[in-house]
Subunit: 307 residues, 2 copies
C-alpha cells in the first residue's frame, strides 16, 4: 500500500492571491489540475493575517476538491503569487510567515501570471481587470509598467473606465459636455434621478465599485456614442503604450489578461491585436511552475553543496 507521502511526492499547490479572492489549485506531476479552491482576499496589503488565512483556506479547499483530505499541507510544496509583494516590505512580511506547507515559494502576482500565460520565463503580459498593468520577464529581468492604483493610475482598467463614465455623465448632466446615452444608462443603473444623487452614490467609493461600471462604457461605444468612444479610445491608447514599451524588451510571447480583455481587445492597435497570444494557463498554474523551478534550483544547489 502506498502511503500519502508516496502519493503526493509530485503534488504541488499553486495559489494566486489577489485583492478580492485567493485561488488555489493542486496539480500532479503531469500538470493535471486535481482540484481547485477559492477563498477571500489574499493581498497582504490589506492585512497579513487575512492573507495567510485565505491562502491556507484556499489550499485546504483545493485538496478537498481533489478528494485528497488525507494529505496534510505539511506534505506539499506551494507556489504562492501575491499582489503587493513586489514591495520589499510586503515580501519580507510574507516570508516571515510560518506557513503550514512543506515549503512556500513566494512571487508577485505579475510573475505567476506571466509564467502561467507562457509556460516560460521569457514573456510579457498586459493586465486589465479592476486595475491595469504591464509586465515582462526576460532572462530574469523584470519590468513593471503602470499598476499605480486608483485614482492616480491604472488607466484603461475597469475602475478607470467606470470613473470616466461617471465624470462624463456629470459633465453632460451639467450641460458642459454633449448628451451621451451613458447618462440614461448610469442614472438607471444607480437608481438616481440627477447628478446630485449620482454624487451621493459614488462619493468615496473604491476601485472595485467603479470597475462594475466599466461595461456600460463599452456598450455605449459599440452603439456609436461619441463620448464613450472617446473614453474607450483613450483607455485603449494607454494599453497600446504599455504594449509598445514591453515589446521593446523583445518578449518571446505577449498576452493580455484580466476581466476587461474581451471588451478592450477589439479597440487596440491592429498590430498589437495580432501579436497577442492566448494565455496558456491561469496565474495559479504559473505559481506551480514557479514553485517547481525554485525547488529544482534549491535541490541542485544542495547537491552541489553536498558534493
Amino acid at each position: 500500500m502506498l502511503t500519502s507521502c508516496d502519493n503526493n511526492k509530485a503534488l504541488f499547490l499553486g495559489i494566486d492571491g489577489g485583492g478580492s479572492k485567493c485561488k488555489a489549485i493542486v496539480m500532479n506531476e503531469n500538470n493535471e489540475i486535481l482540484g481547485t479552491g477559492i477563498s477571500g482576499p489574499g493581498n497582504p496589503l490589506h492585512g497579513i493575517g487575512q492573507a495567510t488565512d485565505s491562502i491556507t483556506e484556499s489550499a485546504l479547499l483545493a485538496l478537498k476538491d481533489a478528494g485528497l483530505t488525507h494529505i496534510n499541507l505539511s506534505e506539499i510544496y506551494a507556489g504562492v503569487g501575491l499582489a503587493g509583494v513586489n514591495l520589499p516590505i510586503q515580501f519580507k512580511k510574507m516570508q516571515e510567515w510560518q506557513s503550514p506547507f512543506k515549503g512556500l515559494f513566494l512571487a508577485h502576482d505579475l510573475l505567476i501570471a506571466c509564467l502561467g500565460a507562457h509556460h516560460s520565463s521569457n514573456g510579457a503580459v498586459i493586465i486589465s481587470g479592476t486595475g491595469s498593468c504591464g509586465f515582462s520577464c526576460i532572462d530574469d529581468q523584470e519590468v513593471i509598467i503602470g499598476g499605480h492604483g486608483f485614482p492616480q493610475g491604472d488607466i484603461g482598467s475597469g475602475a478607470w473606465f467606470g470613473l470616466q463614465a461617471v465624470k462624463q455623465v456629470l459633465l453632460s448632466l451639467d450641460g458642459i459636455a454633449e448628451y451621451s446615452i451613458m447618462n440614461d444608462v448610469l442614472l438607471a443603473k444607480l437608481h438616481c434621478a440627477d447628478a446630485t444623487s449620482i454624487v451621493e452614490k459614488v462619493a468615496g467609493k473604491k476601485a472595485t465599485y467603479f470597475a462594475q461600471l466599466a461595461n456600460l462604457v463599452f456598450d455605449a461605444a459599440e452603439q456609436g456614442d461619441n463620448i464613450a468612444i472617446a473614453i474607450v479610445t483613450e483607455g485603449a491608447e494607454y494599453i497600446n503604450s504599455i504594449a509598445r514599451v514591453l515589446l521593446t524588451k523583445m518578449p518571446a510571447r505577449i498576452s493580455m489578461l484580466g476581466g476587461l480583455t474581451i471588451r478592450l481587445k477589439p479597440w487596440l492597435d491592429k498590430n498589437l491585436q495580432e501579436k497577442l497570444a492566448e494565455p496558456l494557463s491561469p496565474p495559479e498554474v504559473g505559481a506551480v511552475l514557479f514553485a517547481r523551478k525554485e525547488l529544482a534550483m534549491q535541490q541542485s544547489l544542495s547537491v552541489v553543496q553536498s558534493a
Copy 2:
C-alpha cells in the same frame, strides 16, 4: 447706562463653515467687522456634532476678538453658510439643531459666497479652491454647476490639478509620457526616489492632500513645460465652460473665488477675465447679509400677520 441688549441690537454674526475650518465675524449695523474667529471643520457632512461645536466656538471667538464677551450668543442673530446643506437631508439635520443664537438663518456656502461677493442677490460666482464649482442666484433662482467632489468631479480645482500632476509624472517615469520638469519637483517634494514610492505616498489620500500639489503644475506651466501647460489648459477650459453656462443666466456681476483664483485667472478666456469682478466681501459677510434679509422678511411677515 446702556445694557448689553441695547448695545447689540444691530449686531449680527456671520459664519462660513467649510470642510477644513469655520470662520465667524461679528458685524455692527454699519457693516463694520468688529471681530473674527476661526475654529475647526464646519461641514455637517463630516458630522453634525463637530459642525455645531465649530460654529459655536468660532462665534464665541469672534465676540472675544471684538471685546464683546459680556454679550451672550442668545442675544444675537447668526447667518450661517455651510458646505453640504444644499442636500435636503443635511439642511434638515442642521435646522433641528437647538442653536445658542437668538435665531439662526441657514444657507449653503455657495449662496453666502455669492451674496458676499456682490452685496446683492443677483450674481454668479466661480469657485476654485480644494474643489471647484459654479453658482448663480438671480431672482432667487439658484443654479449649481459642478461641485461633484473628488475624484469624480471638481475639474480645475486644487485637488484635480494635484492628481493630474501625480498621474502625468507616473506616466512620464514609466516612459509613456514625455519628460516633465514636474517629475523632479514632485519626487523632491514627496521625498521619493521613484514611481513606486510616489504611489506609496499618495495611495488613498484625500482631496486636501492632492490640492497641496496644485501649485507645482502652475509653476511648471509658467516655465513652459508642455505637460503642465496641457493640464492647466484643460483645467482652465472647464472653468471657462462653467462661466459660459453661468453667463447664459445673465447675472449682474460674476466673480471668481477660492485659493486657486490667483493662479488660474491668467489662463482663462480673455473675455471672461475682463468680465470677472473683484468680490466685494468674503462669504462670512454674505452670511450676515443673508441673515439681515431673512430677518427683515420674517419681521415684515409678522407685521402683515398681526395687522
